[in-house]
């Protein structure tokens, strides 16, 4: 029974975004889609231990959820006002009897419809990102809250209001017409970036790196590039994700966090690096420079260093300078300071970080970064204090465990 539950949970993690997207298309409602999926999963847990796990668990669950929705819609249709609050096509052909095979293109279209719907301009930017992450990205409310550095309750409210807004504003479930596409794109890019970020350094759960989220973000990034050729930031975003993800296998070994200086670079995915570098070249040639391309260039400089000592930290610092002009964020400034520390020495980095302490006091990486620079300067008491502060704030168990063990080893 434990195995069945574990498998169902794995299927949920990997496929819920895709399944929910198609359910929304069918049902016309976020809430109904979510409800149908919960019920389908419950039914899977009830029947699979006896009937055995199906060959295609995702398709089984999709079919079961579709059936529930079709049944509910048929029951309500006679009662309901024809003017639905959402203009969806409700499928009257018999999907209830149709088994769902792998339909990658169909699912891709549904996910695109969903992501553009969630990023509709009637919603404010925060709501757009939160809603897409919740329904399509498969993130939980606490995970999204962490990515935004806001309290969970705030995020939960944001989601409730967003869904209500879609209902009330009669937002259509569609990919925007070509003329509107570009303006709608910025929020979509932000959402994909944030999904990737959560996969790259997970805020909770037992894995630091969640491959499924990174893979999903990269997949969405590819679809976006295909949908809109010639957008340099789309290409830059995809390049950035491929390049950062290329180090996945080297970053966590035996449950331990391995830094760039110590990573076994033979484990880096060279084909992902090659693709990322080529995409970045293509993007920069379009002469529409932007923040994703600059981040990709920084990532490229790491990827191209055969050994840690060969990293071009000076250029990385210069690129962060440029990035800071577009994105005056203290998180960017912190990473700029880190690059300066590596190129000009820890003191230079610490001086820059000092000015960020009020903005970033609640951000564990601020304290961890300071701690590391203090360690390099052999200011041990200060380093330990900073490490402890980081530990208080670190959310991911892999990071916490690592730090705790190190502090314990001293005691």
């Amino acid at each position: 029974m434990a195995d069945v539950r574990a498998l169902a949970e794995a299927v949920f993690r990997e496929e819920s975004g895709r399944i929910v997207a198609s359910l929304i298309r069918i049902s016309g409602s976020f809430d109904r889609a979510e409800e149908a999926m919960q019920e389908a999963f419950a039914s899977a847990l009830a029947s699979w231990p006896e009937t055995g796990v199906p060959a295609n668990p995702g398709a089984w669950i999709t079919t079961a959820a579709h059936r529930r929705i079709i049944d509910a819609v048929r029951r309500e249709r006679t009662r309901r006002d024809k003017q639905d609050s959402l203009r969806y096509e409700i499928e009257s052909s018999a999907p209830a009897t149709q088994e769902f095979e792998e339909e990658p293109m169909g699912f891709a279209d549904d996910r695109l419809r969903l992501i553009f719907t969630c990023c509709h301009p009637a919603l404010n930017r925060e709501a757009q990102v939160a809603l897409t992450l919740r329904t399509l990205g498969g993130l939980t409310t606490p995970e999204i809250a962490h990515a935004f550095l806001v309290p969970e309750a705030t995020l939960a409210q944001r989601l409730v209001r967003a869904k209500r807004k879609i209902q009330e504003a009669r937002i259509p479930y569609e990919v925007p017409p070509v003329g509107r596409l570009r303006e709608r794109l910025v929020a979509v890019q932000a959402v994909i970036y944030l999904i990737f970020n959560e996969g790259y350094s997970a805020s909770s759960g037992d894995c630091l790196v969640r491959e499924d989220l990174c893979a999903e973000a990269i997949r969405l990034g590819r679809v976006l590039c295909d949908l809109m050729a010639g957008d340099a930031e789309n290409l830059g975003l995809l390049a950035l994700m491929l390049l950062q993800n290329s180090r996945r296998a080297a970053r966590v070994v035996d449950g331990a966090l391995i830094t760039l200086e110590e990573q076994d670079r033979s484990l880096w995915d060279q084909s992902a690096i090659g693709e990322g570098l080529a995409l970045l070249e293509g993007a920069l040639r379009l002469r529409q420079a932007g923040p994703y391309q600059v981040q990709a260039a920084i990532a490229a400089l790491h990827a191209q260093a055969g050994k840690a000592e060969q990293t071009d930290w000076a250029q990385i610092a210069a690129l962060y300078e440029k990035l800071g002009e577009w994105n005056p964020s203290p998180v960017v400034a912190l990473n700029h300071a880190a690059a300066v520390a590596m190129s000009a020495g820890p003191e230079a980095g610490l001086r820059r970080m000092a000015s960020l302490s009020s903005a970033l006091d609640g951000y564990y990486l601020f304290h961890a970064a300071r701690a590391d620079l203090l360690r390099r300067l052999e200011r041990r008491t200060d380093a330990v204090e900073a490490y402890r502060r980081a530990l208080e704030l670190a959310g991911n168990p892999v990071e916490r465990k690592f730090l705790s063990r190190r502090i314990r080893e001293l005691e």
């Binding site: 930017r125 962490h146 990515a147 935004f148 550095l149 806001v150 910025v186 929020a187 890019q189 932000a190 970036y193 944030l194 990737f196 970020n197 350094s201 950035l240 950062q244 180090r247 830094t259 760039l260 990573q263 002469r287 420079a289 923040p291 391309q293 981040q295 260039a297 920084i298 400089l301 250029q315 210069a318 690129l319 440029k322 994105n327 005056p328 964020s329 203290p330 998180v331 400034a333 912190l334 300071a337 880190a338 300066v340 520390a341 590596m342 000009a344 001086r351 820059r352 000015s355 009020s358 903005a359 990486l365 961890a368 590391d372 041990r380 490490y387 990071e399 190190r406 080893e409 001293l410």
Partner: protein, 92 residues
């Protein structure tokens, strides 16, 4: 500074004009100089919390506060090393 060149260049085709290349290199030198001077210029002014945010372009003037996949902290400095102390009391 190849990526910096590409990021700054506004030319569609061919080589960057010599003056622009010189200007960009001079700009780089200034950046590196600043870093070497231990961040006196920009590091000195505290960033107000209200300027926090965005890895998203601020087109509608409303920025987002976000984290991001930045290796410089998450992979470079966030590793927690053993403190090389012989004496715990010295460290704590």
């Amino acid at each position: 500074m190849r990526y910096m060149m590409l990021v700054y260049s506004k030319e569609l085709d061919g080589e960057m004009p010599a003056e622009e290349a010189v200007r960009i290199r001079a700009g780089h030198a200034a950046v590196l100089q600043d870093a070497a001077q231990k961040g006196i210029l920009q590091g000195a002014e505290p960033l107000a919390p209200t300027t926090t945010a965005t890895t998203v372009r601020m087109e509608d003037g409303k920025p987002l506060i976000t984290d991001g996949p930045f290796a410089e902290t998450k992979e470079q400095l966030a590793g927690y090393y053993i403190l090389d102390c012989q004496n715990l009391d010295e460290a704590i």
